[in-house]
Amino acid sequence: MPLTTSEPAAASGKLKRFLGQLIWAAVAVVAAFSLGAMAVNRGEHINSAWLVLAAVCTYMIGFRFYARFIAARVMALDNQRATPAERLENGHDFEPTNKWILFGHHFAAIAGPGPLVGPVLAAQFGYLPGTLWIIIGAVVGGAVQDFVILFASMRRDGKSLGKMAREEIGKLGGFVALLTVLLIMIILLAVVALVVVNALAGSPWGTFTIAATMPIALFMGWYLRYRRPGKVLECSAIGFALVLAAIFAGQWVAQSHTWAPVFTLSAVALAFAITLYGFLASALPVWLLLAPRDYLSTFVKLGVIFLLAAGIVFVRPELELPAFTRFTDGNGPIFAGKIFPFCFITIACGAISGFHSLISSGTTPKMITKEWHAWPVGYGAMLLESLVAVMAMIAACVMHPGVYFAVNSPAGIVGGTPAAAVATISSWGFPVSVAEMQQLAHTVGEQTLFYRTGGAPSLALGMAHIFAHSGGGRAVIGFWYHFAIMFEALFILTVIDAGTRVGRFMLQDVLGHVHPALGRTSWMPGVLMTSGAVVVAWGYFLYQGVRDPLGGINSLWPLFGIANQLLATIALCVATTILIKMHRARYIWITGLPLLWLVTVTFTAAWQKIFSPMPRIGFLAQARQLQATLGSGAVTGARIAETQALIFNARLDAVVCGVFMILVAIILVDSLRIWAGIFAGSRTSQVLEAPFVLSRLSTEEA
């Protein structure tokens, strides 16, 4: 019987489908094999390529199957439905944008210091727990949160998380979400400022380079405003060249007998300098300092991430840290606490970050051309962020464990002298010598690398190691180290100045109800007062971190991690409520399971941080221990006031942690009340989406 014309086409289609299935099966096998190789290896160094392969293949499977399932079956994305970008196009916020450009835009917005610093700190447990959580957490938690919130905001004319919380859960939910964001920002700004302070303390090279970025940013601001208006790329290229020149000049400064002492600042002096900077940046016009620095930092950030990925693929370094260290027992020198729950709150943004929900319900939903673009933009960009976290983990683990712990451990834990520190660290089974540390410090142009807590210096060391092995060798390692420090500090400072400004706006918004003039952003006394209030708030926590004998990171980073994950809890409450209202209750496990996990992790962590009897974990136990020491008369002279301040700080941290728990518990109970009402039939399940409008844009145009 002769073949009909459609039969060859059908046969070819079947073959294509079969080949496709074969390729995806191969990807799944590689993912499973790489995860297995990573997980079962003990006692031998493994190559970083296994981590990259495991991550990339798992992301591909998650993206192709899980996210597509969510997009098609749960959200029912529809390219025939006009998005807000098309319906409300105004040439400003609402603008249909190419999906890959929007992907880059969204990624640049969600990528902050969190995914870089968190994994470096969590490496104290070994490479395995953190890496597994980064990969799995992103695929089933973080990317899902970003994707669902982006979808929900896109269907609601680009509404913010706060507005959606108010509309879907209730007025209380919206207010609590706003308050939580403000509190989280204060802790966030303090902790990222602490990272910069610890990276620059006693480092004239680093301090000079970062100080030089301020006049460079001012110059860029002037250039863009008056010399070549509108030429942002040109201006940023000039700024980047000047920053590179500042790194080279920094080496000269560090070697100069005259200038090195000027730029060798203590942690306390740096904390005051950064606080003052935050105040100025918040009060000055945006175009003068904040915007040019932000443009520059965005380009440098994307460039360095690309460079680091290329370096890891090219060098494929071996991991020196083991899969698990002895600190899984909860006695880690960097931060105290066991893998559960502390690994999961330390790695915040690399696996799941509440802050992303603010971006997913901010600019991005207003720029999506077609509904299906939310799939790569919302889910895919988070996977890329997670890959950045895996790269940071690799950069931390390529160091010798002894060096890693010598850099990251505070003097209060390992001993106040280099000799005492190496003796303690070597006794843990991670041999390191003073000579080795001195040699390393000399190579990167630092006076010392002991007690450089916060994660930034060790990340810079790992990155410099990878970059130098890509070409140039030890001769250029000092440049790369300071390049990495500059890169981290540059965008952390951008987070600080933008955050202080936003905190000021939030405060003005609230105070405007008390006294209308305080709400006006053009009334200078109000601007100065509210800027000062926000700066004092985060500056206080920064100062507390700097003075903390345990390094500050031990108390502040978990606080930040808890706060950030609690914001994710709020986002997932909103997402679950929306799914229920959409009559997708049978799929609530998609957001419900990550929500359940986050609630368990964050509430356990918060509870332990407040009530654990171990002074290094529990704030109240720490306060009690200090009180007992004070009462025994062991503390004398000027240290009495210092100890009293430490007791107050520990109690304050406990209160802040408790407030976070209460705020999120309110939203959780409010959400449960609504869900129960809908399931019981006593509450209507009204979907608050914008009405359907047929899209005029063809898929090709998009």
Partner: protein, 58 residues
């Protein structure tokens, strides 16, 4: 070669978007205006005010 050119133009477009240059061009087209230093300053003020009203991600 064509794909390489496409990739390059996509990257340039992304950089222009991140630099707000694309948004400025859209602003000029939408309002039927010509580029001038004063026009850029007006656009930039509005754009930046909106941009830094939102927190930056951590």
């Amino acid at each position: 070669m064509t794909r390489l050119r496409m990739f390059r133009s996509l990257m340039l477009a992304l950089l222009r978007e991140l630099a707000d240059e694309a948004a400025y061009q859209r602003h000029l087209a939408a309002n039927g205006r010509e580029h001038s230093p004063e026009e850029w300053r007006k656009f930039s003020d509005v754009r930046l005010r909106a941009k830094y009203f939102r927190p930056k991600c951590c």
